[in-house]
Amino acid sequence: MKIVPGCARVPTPGKLGVPTDQGPEEAAVSSEFVGPLERGAERQRTSRRSVRMLVVESLGPLTVLGGAVWAVAQPYRIVFLERAGKGFYDYLVQPPLLVIAVGLVFALGIAPGIVEDMRSDGGPEG
């Protein structure tokens, strides 16, 4: 076991304050060098998690936006705007409104729970 000169030879508590079963030399190395690396990796993980949360939160609104843009681009696909010669099924199935509905279902019914679970999974800092 190699002793690093200049390192304090004191047992250091491990992650979450739990004492490690490493020798004092290893613990000292861990506190001086590995600690910052671990913190960097943790920051990276947190950043990745934030990006993932943002993407999941965006899926619903982006879908709604897609449906809204489609409705503006092709208003004749919405029967409420052009009623002539349309039947029951035309009112039931209007593509841009279906896309908006799917986006809303996902944004309001599914995404919030996933984001909440990601936060609880990744600790208080989310």
Binding site: T63, F106, I110, D117, D121
Partner: protein
Amino acid sequence: MAPRAELVHWAFAAGFLLLGLILLAEAIVGSDVFGKRRWRAYLWPSLAFALGVLLWPVAVFFTSSTLHMLAHASWAEVAMLAGAIQLALVRGKLTSRWWALSLSFTLVVSGLAFLLHEQNPWLFSRAAFLHHAIGWTLLVAALFPLGQALRPRQLVWRAGFAMTWVVLAMLLFCDRDVAPIFGHLSDLAGGPASP
């Protein structure tokens, strides 16, 4: 009275879009986080199974040809089979990762059914073009579950499988019973629907 075929395509497109979003979310956050709430783990297999059940009325009422009926019925069967297998995997009744291959089987059968039941050439009309495009898309997408079975941890397979349904939804939303594609419409296809 049955609705027009394009309306049925759009309704199913909405279902596939929701399926794609759910799968995409699972691919992004990972199965562990996604499965934290049990109902969520059952969500997409149930939706796949339900879409399979809903394909049966399509098979029964849209019988413009024997091939159409056989194609719709085969989709209904494989969609229900895929949904049931995924439900069993979530429940823990099945455990092998190789069950992911059932999704490949589903996609291959669906892709072939799309290609075989469309008897018109590619540029006959938009519906013909889209049926061919969807068929080939599904055949290529059958590689994603295969990748999932071989390397389950890789994001690309899950994301690719999820995006398959989003793309399928977009293609189905583009469908019209009679409409030109790339400015071309066969004289035999009939007049374009208004507008």
